[in-house]
């Protein structure tokens, strides 16, 4: 390995060192503000190191990792999202009587796993990154050990993630057994020579789809989502919803585009079915929820369905549309869970719709931020979600996948209904029936408030003037083709 290799790997190296430094700092001096500050510095430096790395890409570092513009774009996304999660988590953890500092170590390691995931073009690094991410997430989901529901969420996530990882491994093994390679580009060459038709390859890809499907939480691999979303602390849910899914979508794009598996008719069909099932089931089930976290969980299932429509569209426009949608979705979910985190008290998270009744008349700014996030999820103009949906439909229309677009249109109209339920509650003028018994709203922590303001700013910027991000995404996607 020479210096250029280290340069492109700088983000990973910095993040890995951050984990070590933070851990040592905790060992010597337990201080919540210090730990959080160190974490943020590490994340900021890792983000800054994207620029030196960008000068040296694309570069294959060992057979395991490739750092190209695609990876760098997702690096940036993951680092920025983790940065926001840390800011939210600080105020959230301050209200809880737990050992707070280790949270940040876990979070940094999870982010590191995500980085490895998006930079991998080899089965080994793929699995390695995935496991680093998953194992830390088990612990994060169950971080508030005094809550039974959090423990349940952690256990559920552990069992199902382990099972899906087994499927993924088995799928990789089958593909390897048939083609004799674990590198994505080499795999593409093998498949192009006619290996695609072989039953073991098909079976292997199908097993791998299970693994992908679980992490992305698409139907029928979605069963963990509502429970984990509800049980995990709000900042962790934000992390799972944004970073974990984002990294998984990145590797989905990379694997299926670069290994040529996307050209298999069978995998396109499978993903089309999954997309339709996710859009329909996610939106329909969200209709019947009264818990905001569960609503967002089912809505995330639907949104991953929309993302798969972009994936189905294929080509540069499909990949770019998917990436833009994901960017918008990450900003939006971070904002939405940020509001939940800001309103949560030590006893419980603010997760019932009733908790939000009339919020606008008491906390107008917070309510407006939440409204913006919900409208973005619903795909209303001025927000990033609108352009994301627009881009996705455009990608679908360019590929003429009309049936998927039709399902997208109809289900997103259904989706409006439950977003509006929350919005209606936010602006309700009559108080909740048990208003008097409710504890007063907690003060919004300064850091969390700033983060939310920044996220709202980004949301509107993406929705009104997306040119800068679009250019970056298009440049990044060129690495895949």
């Amino acid at each position: 390995m020479n210096s250029a290799d280290f340069t492109v790997l700088l983000p990973l190296i910095v993040l890995g060192s951050t984990a070590v430094v933070v851990m040592l700092a905790i060992a010597f001096h337990r201080s919540h503000p210090l730990t959080a500050t160190l974490t943020e510095i590490g994340l900021a430096v890792a983000f800054w190191s994207l620029w030196p790395a960008a000068a040296a890409v694309p570069r294959q570092v060992t057979p395991l990792l490739i750092v190209d513009r695609f990876a760098l774009y997702y690096f940036g996304l993951i680092l920025a999202a983790t940065f926001a999660v840390v800011l939210m988590a600080y105020g959230y953890l301050e209200r809880h009587d737990v050992r707070r500092e280790e949270f940040y170590v876990l979070l940094v390691v999870a982010a590191l796993g995500s980085l490895v995931l998006v930079a991998s073009d080899h089965f080994v690094s793929f699995f390695l990154g995935l496991e680093i991410l998953s194992v830390t997430l088990y612990a994060l989901a169950a971080y508030l050990t005094d809550r039974e529901i959090a423990l349940e969420a952690g256990m559920k996530y552990l069992v199902l993630a382990a099972a899906s990882a087994a499927f993924l491994l088995f799928g990789m093994a089958l593909v390897y057994a048939e083609t004799g390679t674990m590198e994505f580009p080499a795999l593409a060459a093998q498949l192009a020579e006619g290996g695609a038709a072989h039953i073991w390859v098909l079976a292997g890809v199908a097993f791998m789809v299970t693994g992908f499907g679980f992490k992305l939480a698409v139907v029928p691999f979605h069963l963990w989502t509502p429970d984990v979303y509800q049980g995990a602390p709000a900042p962790v849910t934000a992390f799972i919803a944004s970073v974990s899914k984002g990294a998984m979508f990145a590797i989905l794009l990379r694997f299926f585009y670069q290994s040529g598996s996307r050209d298999l008719h069978a995998s396109l069909l499978i993903f089309a079915i999954i997309a339709v099932a996710s859009m329909i089931a996610g939106n329909l089930m969200a209709l019947f929820q009264n818990n905001v976290k569960r609503i967002l969980a089912y809505s995330s299932i639907a949104h991953l369905g929309y993302l798969l429509v972009a994936f189905e569209a294929g080509g540069p426009i499909g990949a770019a549309a998917g990436t833009f949608y994901l960017t918008a979705y990450m900003v939006t979910t971070l904002g939405a869970f940020g509001v939940i985190a800001a309103l949560s008290s030590s006893g419980r998270d603010a997760e019932e719709i009733e908790d939000y009744r009339g919020l606008f008349w008491r906390r107008p700014v917070l309510a407006v931020v939440f409204t913006a996030m919900l409208f973005s999820l619903a795909g209303i103009p001025l927000t990033a979600g609108f352009l994301g949906k627009f881009y996705t439909v455009a990608a679908g229309a360019s590929a003429a996948i009309w049936s998927l677009i039709f399902v997208l249109v109809v289900t997103s109209a259904i989706g409006l209904f439950y977003y509006l339920r929350v919005v209606v509650a936010l602006y309700a003028t009559e108080p909740a029936p048990d208003e008097a018994e409710r504890p007063p709203l907690p003060a919004v922590p300064a850091m969390g408030g700033l983060t939310l303001a920044a996220l709202t700013g980004v949301l509107i910027w993406l929705g009104v003037y997306p040119q800068v991000v679009l250019n970056a995404i298009r440049a990044a996607m060129s690495a895949l083709f």
């Binding site: 606008f360 008349w361 409208f375 209303i380 103009p381 001025l382 609108f386 627009f390 439909v393 455009a394 229309a397 360019s398 677009i405 039709f406 249109v409 109809v410 997103s412 109209a413 409006l416 209904f417 509006l420 209606v424 602006y427 003028t429 003037y465 997306p466 040119q467 679009l470 250019n471 298009r474």
Partner: protein, 598 residues
């Protein structure tokens, strides 16, 4: 730049009003009012500047235009443009905006800042819809105007406001998404034909589409506009939304939001898909007639005054739809006058109902009655607007509906006869309104305050405007004429490959159509043979002597078309069908018909 101001003024004023309301509610109200007045003055000034030059300006398409790149990656431009059609609608928007702020002066007492923010933003959204001619920008504005409207209904509405607001939102959103898919299909079809990605409306006109694709894409647009219009049977959101909205919300809904649907049909559906619209015309006109009759019938059955007025909207907007899809110059002009007149008369009707409700706390006819004895001015004004609504000659609505009926009769007398029944029915519900609410004995022994000076000012100016439209509609027709002509020219325009399945050869880029469209290669028929292409539309007094080109109602009419017969002698040999039907490619039926006539 003034176009941008028209949008920015209400947007900025909305934000400021929302912020200052915490300190002073009065300041927020005055600020909103001043912003609306500023917008109104601006648009009236543009009208006055433009009016003397109509005949010149009909050569060029837009009165004012602004075009800057926005999202270059998609070929999206921030492209606003104004012609006579949008100018009048924008003026109407600000007029009703002033009214909406004024009638909310006492009605709205909670959340004043947020109310005015929403009111001004919905006005800004509507203005943007009328001005945007980049299809992406149009869709953007189209969706954006819904949200403040949703809040207006959901927060300041009446008893079932949440239900009504959600229903309104779902209907319009779903249909809007269909339009989005249609816009994108058109966008990619245009790219396939020309290699250019653009959402620009002038460039997209004449995009070649296979007939079945054109029909589907047209239906995508039509769905969005028909829901807004609202067309029977997609109207069910309307009575709920109108009834539950606060008075200002009802005025904006009935006066403006419905008009965006009609505007969309005139601006986009007809010019972009002339052939598909032609084929769809029998269905659209049939549904229009159904809407006219059904709306009138249900209006008669209501006891809630607001619901009654809401159903009359369904009926009146049926005339607009009928006029647009009959497609002759007279019918289109009639549809346009109906749009303006209905905006004023129905907007004021909702206002009167709001005033009644404010005083009596009920809208139920069964509990009203005898209002004339205690509030004679209010009742008299109410009678005036009811008469306008049922189409009394001399008032605005009459002119519009009469022109539509006239245009329809030329093409298809049966449709005209059916539509006339709708006019007849309107007398019943109108008289029921007056008889049950204003006449009779004052059973409740109400002693109510009559119209205040503020209310007299609003109602009085609306009366004057309606009388003006009713007695001298020529300025409106003249202003609209150039826009109408460009629509007509596209309908009648030079035959293009768009009606055939084969895409145009790249050698003939569709951009080159623009000058062609503006000055068509065919010579207008001599005076007396058809409506001269450059002469502003005139009142129907002279129309009887002028045989008229028939619209696409012909495709359905089994009857010989009178106009067609007398036109054919003067037809230039190069384009016989064009004068018989303003539609570019005659369907087999229309061809048969014109052949039969000759």
């Amino acid at each position: 730049m003034s176009l941008v101001w028209l949008i920015v003024i209400p947007l900025a004023a909305g934000v400021i009003a929302g912020l200052v309301a915490r300190r002073s509610a009065l300041a927020a109200r005055w600020l909103s009012l001043l912003a609306m007045i500023a917008g109104f003055i601006l648009s009236v000034r543009m009208w006055l500047e433009y009016y003397p030059h109509i005949s010149l300006l009909s050569q060029q398409k837009w009165i004012a235009e602004i075009d800057v790149p926005w999202i270059a990656g998609f070929g999206i431009h921030f492209h606003l443009a104004m012609d006579g059609l949008s100018l009048l609608l924008v003026t109407l928007t600000f007029l009703l905006g002033i009214v909406s702020v004024m009638i909310s002066w006492r009605e709205i007492r909670d959340g004043i800042g947020f109310f005015h923010f929403n009111l001004l933003w919905v006005i800004a959204g509507i203005v943007a819809v009328f001005l945007a001619i980049d299809l992406f920008l149009f869709y953007f504005a189209w969706e954006l105007m819904l949200i403040p409207m949703y809040f207006l209904i959901a927060i300041w509405g009446h008893e079932r406001r949440v239900y009504a607001a959600v229903k309104f939102f779902l209907f319009t959103q779903l249909s809007g998404l269909l339009m989005l898919v249609a816009i994108l299909t058109l966008y990619f079809a245009h790219h396939a034909a020309t290699g250019v990605y653009t959402f620009d409306y002038p460039a997209l006109i004449g995009t070649p589409l296979a007939p079945h694709v054109a029909l589907l894409v047209m239906l995508g647009f039509f769905a969005a506009f028909a829901v807004k219009l609202p067309m029977f049977p997609l109207h069910t959101w309307l009575p709920d939304a109108h009834t539950e909205a606060p008075t200002a919300g009802s005025v904006v809904l009935a006066g403006l939001l419905l008009k965006t649907g009609a505007y969309g049909l005139l601006r986009f559906v007809l010019p972009l898909f002339p052939d598909a619209a032609h084929r769809f015309a029998p269905v659209a006109t049939g549904l229009a007639i159904a809407g006219i009759l059904y709306g009138a019938l249900l209006a008669y059955g209501q006891t809630d005054l607001k619901r009654l007025v809401a159903y009359t909207s369904v009926s009146h907007l049926g005339f607009v739809l009928l006029g647009i899809f009959i497609g002759t110059p007279l019918a289109i002009a009639g549809a346009f006058v109906t749009i303006i007149a209905h905006g004023i008369s129905t907007g004021t009707m909702f206002m009167m109902v709001g005033m009644v409700q404010e005083r009596t706390h009920t809208r139920d006819m069964d509990r009203l009655g005898g209002l004339w004895q205690t509030v004679p001015k209010l009742s008299g004004a109410g009678l005036f607007f009811v008469l306008a609504s049922i189409g009394l000659p001399g008032l605005g609505d009459f002119v519009g509906e009469f022109l539509v009926l006239l245009g329809t009769y030329r093409v298809n007398p049966r449709l005209a006869a059916l539509a006339t029944i709708g006019v007849l029915c309107s007398t019943f519900y109108g008289l029921k309104f007056v008889a049950r609410a204003f006449h009779g004995t004052n059973r409740n022994n109400w002693k109510l305050p009559d119209l205040s000076a503020r209310e007299i000012a609003i109602v009085g100016s609306m009366m004057v405007i309606l009388l003006w439209i009713g007695l001298y509609p020529q300025p409106i027709l003249n202003t609209f004429a150039p826009a109408a002509q460009s629509i007509e020219q596209i309908l009648a325009g030079p035959p293009t490959a768009s009606s055939t399945a084969t895409p145009a050869p790249p050698a003939a880029p569709w951009h080159s159509l623009e000058p062609v469209r503006l000055s068509p290669p065919w010579t207008p028929p001599p005076r007396g043979a058809g409506i001269p292409a450059r002469v502003p539309l005139s009142l129907p007094s002279g129309a009887g002597s002028r045989p008229e080109r028939s619209g696409f109602g012909t495709a359905r009419a089994p009857l010989p078309v009178r106009g067609a017969g007398s036109v054919s002698p003067s037809v230039s040999p190069s384009a016989p069908e064009r004068l018989v039907s303003p539609w570019r490619s005659p369907s087999p039926l229309a061809a048969d018909l014109s052949g039969g006539n000759r």
